[in-house]
C-alpha cells in the first residue's frame, strides 16, 4: 500500500462500481485524484481493487461530463442550457403536469440506474407513489425476492465462503462481474473446497472450477430442482427442518415424484450421470454454499434455491444460499404515503424487462394508459430499459438524470446533471449484507446534484415537501438525515444510525443486518425465525413442455452476458476499460459459425423477437452450439444469426437441418 505520487490528502471510502463494497483509498492533490488503491485494512477487499475500481476516475474527470441542466423541443434538436436547477425543475414539473393531463399518471415510468445511487431509487419510489404510477424499475429489486422479509438473509458474508466444502455457482460469472468476491472463492479452493460451476457459457469462473457443467440457457433453476430431488432420494436432507419448517411438507415432497431425473437432465442439457455425480458430491460434503446469478431471479422456479438450502440444512457459517447483488434489505419507504386505490397494480413486481414490455404493449393496445414519459437515470434506456428506449421517439417527455452524454441522453428532451458517486456521501448496502458509509471524495462539480436533491426539488413543485423533509442548511438534501430515516424503514436495520455505521466503517469493520441479531437461522433449530416458524417451499413442478420446442423463427438461444466494464456508450468515458472488451462482439460457437459460413471478425446480423442488431462475430467455444451470447443491444431468449447478405429463411433452414 502507498503511492509514489505527491498528494495532499487521502480519502478512505467505499467503491460503488458494483455491489461488493471494497474499501478504496483515493490520493488527492489539488482536487484531482492522483492515485487509487484498495484499502488493505478493509475486510472485504483486503487491499485488492479490480479494473472498475481503478478506472472510474476517467469518467469522473471527463471533460464531457454534463454540468448544466438543459432542455430542447425534440430529441433531434439542440440543447439550450437552462439558467439553473430551479428553472429546470420548474420546466420539468410543467411538462409532467401536461403529460398527466393528457395521458394520466400511469403514463410515467422512472428508470433507476444504480449509477444514480440509492437515494435516487428510494426517492423515485416515493415520488411515484405520490404521483400515482407503479412503474419504478431498478435492476437490484428481485434477487432475494423468495426470502421472507422478516427473515435474515439466506447466508453469511462472502468471507464465510472459505469455510465451505463446496461452492456451487449457478449462472454467476463472479470472476468477471465481481472480481474481488472471486478472490474469496479462490481462497476457499486453496483451503480445499470443491468449486462447481454451472453456466450456459464457459465463463472465466468456470475456467477455475473443479467441476464445470455446461447447461442449457435459462435452465439454472431446474438444476436446483434436480439437486434437491437427488438429495431427497439419497436421504441427505434435514428431515426435521422440512417437517417443522416447511408449510405443507407432504405435498411438497410429493411434487418431486412427478418429475424424473431424466426429464430434469433433458431440461438442463446435462446427462443423468453428470447429475448423479454432482448429487453424490453434494451429499458427501455437507457444507455447501450456492451462489446464484441475478438472471435466475427472473426465471420460473427461482424459489428452489431457498428451498434447497433450507431442506439440505445448509444453514451453518460457510453454507447456505447466496444470491449475488442481494445485500440490500427489504426497506419499506412508502409506509407513510397513502395509496390511491387502483393505482398500485398487482403486476408490480417481477422481471422489469418483461414488465416494461407488458406495460408498453398494453398501453399500445389501449388496455392500460400508454407510457408517455420517462424519467431516466444513468443509461437505463440503453440497458435494462432498452425496450423503452426503442419506443422513446414516440413519447412526449424523456428527462435524463445522468452524468454523461450517453444514449439515454441522446433520446431525451431534458437533462439534469447528476453528481458521481465519488461526489456524494452515501450509505451502501453491499453483498455480505454489509451496511457501510462511503464519504465523498470531492464536492459535486458545479451544476451537478444528487438524486435526493432532484426528488426534493421536484416534490416541492407539487406541494409534497412533507414527504421529502430532509433538507440541510444549504437548502440541498441532507444526506445523513435521509439515510438515518432510511435505516429506520426496515425492520432489519432499524437499530442502526448513520453515526454508528460511520464509526464502524472507519474502524475497518462492517455492520451487517439484521442489526438486532435475532433473525438468524440457527443450525440446531428446525424452526425458521419467521412469524409462523415456516417458509413456503418451491415445488418441483413438472415442466409445461417436457421437451422445450425449438423456436422455428429464432432457433438459437441468446445469452446477454454483462459487460464488466460497462457498455460502449458508458465505456466511452472509460477509455482504459473500453479497450479491454469489445462489446460489439457476438460470441458464436465455431461449429455453428461454420454451418452459417460466418468467419471470425465478420460483421453479422442477430435477429430477435424485439428487434435486430449488428455485431462482430467472435468465434469461441465459450458458447455452446445451440446459442449465441451478446453483451448488449438485445433482449429476449431466442435469436437468429446470419451473415449480412444471407436471407433469414436460408439461415433458419441451415440451423433447422443442423438440429434435426
Amino acid at each position: 500500500m502507498g503511492t509514489r505520487k505527491l498528494y495532499d490528502r487521502v480519502v478512505s471510502t467505499i467503491c460503488q462500481e458494483c455491489t461488493v463494497g471494497c474499501g478504496l483509498l483515493a490520493y488527492v492533490q489539488d482536487d484531482r485524484i492522483v492515485d487509487i488503491q484498495g484499502d488493505e485494512a478493509h475486510p472485504v477487499g483486503r487491499g485488492r481493487l479490480c479494473a472498475m475500481g481503478t478506472a472510474f476516475l476517467q469518467a469522473f474527470d471527463n471533460p464531457d461530463r454534463i454540468q448544466a441542466p438543459a432542455v430542447r423541443e425534440s430529441p433531434q434538436g439542440q440543447f439550450d442550457q437552462m439558467e439553473d436547477w430551479p428553472a429546470a425543475l420548474d420546466a420539468l414539473a410543467d411538462a409532467l403536469r401536461k403529460v398527466r393531463e393528457r395521458h394520466g399518471p400511469e403514463s410515467l415510468v422512472i428508470g433507476c440506474d444504480p449509477e444514480a445511487g440509492p437515494d435516487f431509487y428510494y426517492g423515485a419510489k416515493r415520488f411515484a407513489r405520490l404521483w400515482g404510477t407503479p412503474y419504478v424499475f431498478e435492476p437490484f429489486e428481485e434477487p432475494r425476492a423468495p426470502w421472507p422479509p422478516d427473515l435474515n438473509a439466506p447466508s453469511g458474508p462472502s468471507s464465510d465462503w472459505i469455510r465451505s466444502r463446496v461452492l456451487l455457482l449457478v449462472e454467476s460469472d463472479v470472476a468477471s462481474t465481481h472480481p474481488i468476491a472471486m478472490s474469496w472463492i479462490m481462497e476457499a479452493r486453496r483451503r480445499g473446497a470443491k468449486i462447481v460451476v454451472a453456466d450456459s457459457r464457459f465463463t472465466a469462473t468456470m475456467s477455475k472450477a473443479d467441476v464445470g457443467l455446461l447447461i442449457r440457457p435459462q435452465s439454472g433453476n431446474r438444476l436446483g430442482t434436480a439437486i434437491l430431488k437427488m438429495l431427497l432420494e439419497s436421504d441427505s436432507c434435514r428431515t426435521d427442518l422440512i417437517e417443522a419448517g416447511f408449510s405443507e411438507p407432504a405435498s411438497w415432497r410429493e411434487s418431486f415424484s412427478t418429475v424424473t431425473l431424466q426429464s430434469l437432465a433433458d431440461e438442463t442439457g446435462l446427462s443423468v450421470d453428470q447429475l448423479d455425480e454432482l448429487g453424490r458430491l453434494l451429499a458427501a460434503r455437507r457444507n455447501t454454499t450456492v451462489i446464484t446469478g441475478k438472471r435466475l431471479a427472473y426465471l420460473p422456479h427461482y424459489g428452489i434455491w431457498l428451498t434447497l438450502s433450507a431442506a439440505a440444512g445448509w444453514v451453518a457459517p460457510g453454507a447456505g444460499w447466496y444470491p449475488l447483488d442481494s445485500g440490500r434489505p427489504e426497506i419499506d419507504v412508502l409506509g407513510d404515503i397513502e395509496e390511491e386505490s387502483g393505482k398500485i397494480l398487482d403486476w408490480l413486481y417481477g422481471d422489469h424487462h418483461t414488465l416494461a414490455t407488458y406495460a408498453l404493449e398494453k398501453g399500445i393496445s389501449g388496455e392500460h394508459p400508454p407510457l408517455n414519459a420517462v424519467i431516466a437515470s444513468g443509461n437505463c434506456l440503453e440497458t435494462f430499459l432498452a425496450i423503452l428506449g426503442r419506443n422513446a421517439p414516440d413519447m412526449d417527455l424523456i428527462a435524463h438524470f445522468g452524468s454523461y452524454p450517453n444514449g439515454t441522453y441522446s433520446l431525451s428532451h431534458m437533462v439534469f446533471p447528476a453528481s458521481a458517486w465519488a461526489e456524494r456521501d452515501t450509505l451502501c448496502f453491499n453483498n455480505d449484507r454489509a451496511v457501510q458509509w462511503a464519504p465523498k471524495i470531492f464536492d459535486p462539480k458545479p451544476g451537478c446534484r444528487s438524486g435526493l436533491d432532484f426528488w426534493i426539488g421536484l416534490a416541492q413543485r407539487f406541494g409534497w415537501e412533507e414527504f421529502f423533509p430532509w433538507i440541510g442548511d444549504d437548502g440541498q438534501g441532507d444526506r445523513r438525515a435521509f439515510f438515518n430515516w432510511l435505516l429506520k424503514q426496515s425492520s432489519v436495520t432499524a437499530g442502526l444510525t448513520v453515526d454508528q455505521v460511520t464509526s464502524v466503517t472507519e474502524s475497518h469493520k462492517t455492520v451487517t443486518w439484521p442489526s438486532d441479531g435475532e433473525r438468524v437461522l440457527k443450525p440446531d433449530s428446525p424452526v425458521f425465525p419467521t412469524a409462523d416458524g415456516k417458509i413456503v417451499p418451491q415445488d418441483a413442478d413438472s415442466p409445461a413442455e417436457p421437451e422445450p420446442q425449438p423456436d422455428e423463427r429464432f432457433p438459437l438461444g441468446l445469452e446477454v452476458s454483462p459487460v464488466v466494464f460497462r457498455d460502449r456508450n458508458t465505456g466511452f468515458w472509460w477509455p482504459w476499460t473500453r479497450e479491454l472488451v469489445n462489446d460489439q462482439i457476438v460470441q458464436i460457437n465455431p461449429i455453428t459459425a461454420q454451418k452459417l459460413g460466418i468467419e471470425n471478425g465478420e460483421e453479422i446480423v442477430v435477429e430477435g423477437p424485439t428487434g435486430d442488431m449488428q455485431g462482430t462475430a467472435g468465434l469461441t467455444r465459450m458458447v455452446q452450439e445451440r446459442m449465441v451470447a451478446v453483451h448488449r443491444g438485445l433482449n429476449g431468449n431466442r435469436v437468429l444469426v446470419r451473415k449480412r447478405d444471407m436471407p433469414s429463411e436460408e439461415a433458419i433452414d441451415i440451423l433447422r437441418e443442423a438440429t434435426t
Binding site: R48, T54, A55, S183, G192, S207, E579
Partner: protein, 177 residues
C-alpha cells in the same frame, strides 16, 4: 556494449501464477493509472487462451504478458539515444526525457513489448514500477491483483511462497477425511 550486461545482484521478480489468474484485467488498468497511459499501449497484457478441449474437457487459461526485463535486452542495445536503460536491479526502462519515440526498441524486442504512447510520442513499456519499488512499494499491478496471481519479491521469496502454498494444499488433503 558490455556496459549493458550488468551483473544483477539484488533482482526482484514479478511472479505470475496462471492458475490463479481470472482474466479481470485489474493489472492492466492499474498500470494505466500508475503511468498515466492513454487508450492504446498495453504494457501488461492478459491473453485468453481457449476454451480448448483437453482430455475431453474444455479448459481455458489466462496468460500474463509483460516485459521480461531481459538479461541482455535487445531494446537497450538498439536505442539510439540511450533512453532505454537497464538498472543495477535488473529493471529495463525507458527514460522519457531521452526518448525520441523512434520505436527502434519496438523493432528490436523479440517479444513486441515496447509500444508507442500516442499521447506524448514516447515509448511506453513496463518500467518495473521503478519509482514505487525505490520507495519499498510493490508494483501497482501486483498490488491490485484480486486473487494474488501476481506476486512480487526476491526470487527466493516468491518461490518460497509458492512452495508454501503447494505444501499447505498437500497437508490439507491429509488432514481431512
Amino acid at each position: 556494449m558490455n556496459a549493458v550486461k550488468k551483473k544483477v545482484t539484488k533482482k526482484n521478480v514479478l511472479l505470475a501464477d496462471s492458475s490463479l489468474c481470472i482474466g479481470c484485467f485489474s493489472c492492466q488498468v492499474a498500470c494505466k493509472l500508475e503511468h498515466d497511459l492513454p487508450q492504446g499501449p498495453r504494457t501488461v497484457k492478459i491473453i485468453r487462451l481457449g476454451p480448448v478441449e483437453r482430455n475431453g474437457n474444455l479448459v481455458m487459461d489466462y496468460l500474463h504478458q509483460t516485459c521480461l526485463h531481459c538479461e541482455e535486452p535487445a531494446c537497450v542495445y538498439a536505442c539510439p539515444t540511450g533512453a532505454m536503460q537497464k538498472r543495477d536491479d535488473g529493471i529495463v526502462f525507458s527514460d522519457p526525457d531521452l526518448c525520441i519515440g523512434c520505436q527502434t526498441c519496438a523493432v528490436a524486442c523479440p517479444y513486441g513489448v515496447p509500444q508507442l504512447n500516442t499521447a506524448n510520442g514516447k515509448i511506453a513499456k513496463c518500467d518495473g514500477c521503478r519509482e514505487r519499488v525505490d520507495r519499498g512499494l510493490w508494483p501497482s499491478c501486483a498490488l491490485k491483483c484480486p486473487t494474488g496471481a501476481l506476486t512480487y519479491g526476491t526470487r527466493e521469496s516468491v518461490v518460497q511462497d509458492r512452495r508454501h502454498r503447494a505444501a499447505t494444499i498437500i497437508a490439507q488433503s491429509f488432514s481431512k477425511p
